[in-house]
Symmetry: C2
Subunit: 243 residues, 2 copies
Amino acid sequence: MDEQGPEGRGQKPRARGLHDRLLESLGPAITAGDYPPGTVLRTDELERHYDVSRTVVREAVRVLESMHLVESRRRVGVTVRPTEEWDVFDPQVIRWRLAGPDRPRQLRSLTALRSAIEPAAAALAAEHATPEQCAELTEHALNMVATSRGQQLPAYLIHDVAFHRVILRASGNEMFARLGDVVAEVLTGRTQHRVMFSDPDPEAVTLHVRVAEAVRAGDAEAAERYTKEITVGALRELDILAP
Amino acid sequence: MDEQGPEGRGQKPRARGLHDRLLESLGPAITAGDYPPGTVLRTDELERHYDVSRTVVREAVRVLESMHLVESRRRVGVTVRPTEEWDVFDPQVIRWRLAGPDRPRQLRSLTALRSAIEPAAAALAAEHATPEQCAELTEHALNMVATSRGQQLPAYLIHDVAFHRVILRASGNEMFARLGDVVAEVLTGRTQHRVMFSDPDPEAVTLHVRVAEAVRAGDAEAAERYTKEITVGALRELDILAP
DNA sequence: CGTGACTTAAAAGTCATACTTATTTGATGG
DNA sequence: CCATCAAATAAGTATGACTTTTAAGTCACG
C-alpha cells in the first residue's frame, strides 16, 4: 500500500529517488496524524523500517524540518511538531493534507483563502491585465459556457481552472499568482465530491463571463464584486455539503 | 555584512548546524539573484567553496529543492529555477527576500496579500472570537492608543503586531493564523523605512479600536470594513513612499 | 532533603570513501 | 541523416568512523 494512487495532474514529478520516496511516505503519515505531534522518531529506526541508508533518512528529515513538520534535536530524536506550527502554505503539505483524513477541513480553509484572495486579484487584474490575458479570459469564459451543459464536467473544469489561473496571474502580484496551483487543487477537488452528473450552476457560469467583461473593461470594482460572488457561492456549496 | 542584524523576535533559531549555515548562505544568495536562474551549481564545487562535506551540501540542496529554488538532476548539477517557480509563501524564502535587494517588491506583494486577507479574517473573527480573544484585542487596541504619541513607536509596534496576530488567530482559519508571522514582518519592516520620529497615523489607531469593538459586538460587516480601511491605509502608505 | 556541579551515555551531526545509477554527449555504423 | 550504442560525468546511495550536543542520572555538599 505504499504505491500511492495516480492523483497527479502532471505537475507533480513523482518520486525520483529514495529520499523522495521516503518523504512521500513520511509526509502523508505525519500530516494524516499517524505520527501525532510529540511522537519521536529515531533515525536508525527509520533506516531499518524503510530499509534505506542514513543519508536518505537525513535528507528526508531535513526537508520535513524545513516544513516545520518535525524538529530534530540531538540526544532526543526527530519530534513531530504541533499542528499549529506546520507550514500550512507549503504546496506539498497542502497536497498531503488534501489526500489525508482532514481533507474536508483543509478544503474549507483553502476555500476561505480563495474567497479572500480572488476578488482582490480580480480587482488588480482589471488594472493590470494585458490584452492577451483579457483574450484568454474571455475565451475560457466562453468555453465554460459552451461546456456547462450535458455531462461535460471534465472539459468545463479545465477551463474553470484556467480562468482562475489567468486572473491570479494577471493580478501582477507574484504571491497571488502562486496560488494558482492551490486553486486548481480546490476546484478539481470539488468535483470529486460533487456528483459527476450534475451540471455546474448556470449562475456561476454567467458570473465568470461578467468577470471577464469587467476585467477587459478595466472595471476593478465590478471584477471584484462578481468574483466575490463566485467565491461566496463556493463557500455556500461547502456549507451545503458538510454543514 | 553576512551577519544579518538582530531582527529576530526570538522565533528564528539561527543556524544550529553546518547544513543550516550553508542554507543561510545559499538561500539568500539565490533569492538575491547572486546565482541567477539557470545557473548550475555542482555539489563538489559547493563542498570546496564552503569547506563542508558532501552530506552537508546534499542536505542543504535538498531543502532548497523543496522550496523550488533549485532543481537537482543527475549528470547536470543543481540548477537555479526561474523566479516564478519559487515557493513564494515559504516563510524562509520570504525572510530571505525581505533581507535582499527586492525587499520593496516583496513588501508590496505582502501588503497586497494582507489587504486581501485581513478584512476577511476580521469578519470571521467577529463570528468566532472567544471572549478571551476579544479582551486581548481591546487591550492591545487601548495600548496602541496609549503609546501612539510621543516617540513610543517600539512599544506601539508591539501592540500593533499583537493585535493583528489575534485577529488572524481568532478567525479560526489555520491558514490565516499562519500569516501572523508574515504580517509581523511587514509591520516591523515598515518602521525601518518610516522615520522613527513620526507618530503613527491617529486615524489608523482609531480604526483599530473600532475593529476591536466590532469583533466584540459580533459585527462581521463592520469588522471587515474597518480592517479594510486599515490595510488600504497601509497600501497608500507604500505608494507614497515609493510611487 | 534539596540543590548544584559533575559524569555518562544516547542520539544526531559530520566527514571521507567507495560504489551505483541515470543521463548527456558523441562516436560509430547502417 | 538517423538510429544505436558506448563512455564519461555528476548526482544518488551506502557505510563506517568519529564528533558534538545535551538529557538524565549521580554524587557531594549545604
